[in-house]
């Protein structure tokens, strides 16, 4: 229980810290903070000095900073973050749409990565030390060194420009998802393969595998009944870690392929200094990432007794 409590304290303190810094963005960036904050409220980029002075009192911008923060947080929690500078429209629908796109893209890329990495890692573990293992290990480890912004243009060049079988950009259907997913999956494939190989190798050496082989189960049956299931635990943890990581890490891929996801939203907000959108997007990404990692930790602790005792005692 202490573990759960501590995890929740981390969760809450992270969110409070981040939200305070995010709240401060208009004050930290160059220019008059009041003007920037009012612009997000009244949807008019060209306020004269007189109306700024009037609205400043009306929106309570002359109050102490902490009071303003509490007020802002209250609005933010109810989804009221003002109006986007560029789109001139309320922000929640923009965020919701972008999150759906990014979650779909990320999940598809990770499932694809698992589909490649699980068999590869298992084969490498079963053929440990043989040439098959060396080839799989070396090649997948090399994947880590491939930059997405290189992989993506190369794929576009091959499949869109020369072969003309897939669209080069856009978000129009399954065909347009193939190249972005392939690009995003490279690094996860590498890590998933290594982790699968390591945990599979551990499991294959463990007494219960040797025991079931001794009881007369065939190698294949042993792997299916006992090996895969136990080897999956670390992989599942890694999966959720990556899900969180990619939510913010797909910026490059979204920009290259013109995908209207969260990364693209943040990127455009930074380029256009669209402060309210930036605030909302960063809050959402951080909340999601922290929530995912907390849930993973807690679930993992509940499932795995060894970790549970270690976490409780420390």
């Amino acid at each position: 229980m202490t573990f759960l409590v501590r995890r929740l304290i981390v969760l809450v303190s992270t969110l409070v810290t981040v939200s305070f810094v995010v709240f401060l963005i208009p004050y930290l960036t160059p220019g008059d903070p009041a003007r920037k904050i009012l612009r997000a409220r009244v949807n008019d980029p060209n306020l004269d000095a007189e109306s700024v002075a009037r609205l400043r009192t009306q929106y309570g911008l002359d109050r102490p900073l902490l009071v303003q923060y509490a007020d802002w947080l209250l609005h933010a929690v109810t989804g009221d973050l003002g109006i986007s500078y560029t789109a001139r429209s309320p922000i929640p629908p923009m965020i919701v749409g972008a999150i759906q796109v990014t979650v779909l893209l990320t999940a598809a890329a990770l499932i694809f990565a698992l589909a490649i990495a699980l068999p590869l890692g298992s084969i490498a573990a079963m053929k440990r030390g043989r040439p098959t293992d060396t080839v799989i290990t070396t090649v997948t480890q090399g994947f880590v060194a491939i930059p997405e912004y290189w992989m993506a243009p190369l794929l576009v060049l091959a499949f869109a420009v020369h072969l003309r079988v897939l669209p080069s950009a856009g978000w129009t259907g399954v065909a347009s998802m193939v190249l972005p997913c392939l690009t995003l999956a490279m690094r996860p494939i590498s890590y998933f393969t290594q982790v699968t190989r390591a945990s599979m190798a551990d499991v294959l050496d463990s007494p219960h595998i040797i025991g079931s082989r001794a009881r007369g189960l065939s190698y294949r049956q042993t792997i299916w009944r006992h090996g895969i299931r136990n080897a999956l635990i670390p992989v599942v943890t890694l999966f959720s870690v990556w899900l969180g990581g990619l939510l913010g890490g797909s910026v490059v891929v979204e920009v290259i392929f013109g995908i209207p996801g969260m990364g693209r939203l943040v990127y455009d907000a930074v380029l256009n200094s669209d402060i309210p959108v930036l605030q909302a997007a960063i809050m959402c990404i951080v909340t999601l990432t922290v929530a995912i990692s907390t849930v993973t930790d807690v679930v993992y602790t509940v499932i795995n007794p060894t970790v549970r005792s270690a976490n409780v005692s420390s």
Binding site: V10, T14, A145, Y149, L157, V252
Partner: protein, 300 residues
Amino acid sequence: MSLLDGTRTSALDSAPAPVRVARSARGRRWIDIRTWPASLVIGALLFVVVVLTLILTPWIAPHDPAAQTLSARLTGSSGTHPLGTDQLGRDVLSRLMDGGRFSVSIAALTLAISAVVGTLLGLVCARRRGAFDEFIMRLTDVLLAFPEMIVAMFLVAILGASQSTLVLALVLGGWTPFARLARGVAIEIDSRDYIEAAKSLGCSKRFIMMRHVLPNALSPLMAHAALRFGHKLITVGALSFLGLGVQPPDADWGSMLADGLPYMSRSPGLVIYPGLAIFVTALSVTLMGQGINVRRNRRT
């Protein structure tokens, strides 16, 4: 320190003799390249070639990287321009060599700061434990929750795009793994017998830290640093690619790649070569990291 000089040393020295032999033998074996795994040899060779090329660029670059020849734009490879020219008629090879100096030095700088700060904090945590340790570890929890790109874009939004913002952003998230690793390794080493022996001989905590814990923690930390370097290099390139890192007129591999995208179907080299440069450099250091790990596992 008094244990190591003066006459008392010789008397004490004979007791832990096997340990000393093992240490010096290990020190010698590191220099012996024949004992290195293949990945370490290949990675180190590649890396030395890349770094030497980048250091010697001002003398060996075939052209001035900024010199434009508008009449010879987007040409393919030729005798005078081995990798062709870009959209402004600049020599691609010279620009690659020049751009690499930015990419590699920024990645190395951020890694060095992250590694030193992280390792020191981790060691202090392992030694002091208690509230300080708890605070630093919770801080790493918080920082690890942020995707690196989001931190970087957030800082760019506040501070504006520049090289120093880039370094700051990468260090902010970069020291945490080192702190955790150093702390973990130090706590593990602390439980070994020779530390117990050193303590019972009356060595100070600081002496044990510098003489025993740090040297033994160095190998896993170096392996980790090597594995992180490729990642840093790619992230630096990604931010420059997005226009949030190295600013014109300077160009690194990431921004060169981005500049080449509009001309990709006509001169694919403008996109292929900068990416290849990042890939090869990142791969060489990653191989070195794996080699160090292989070697470490072989030993224990």
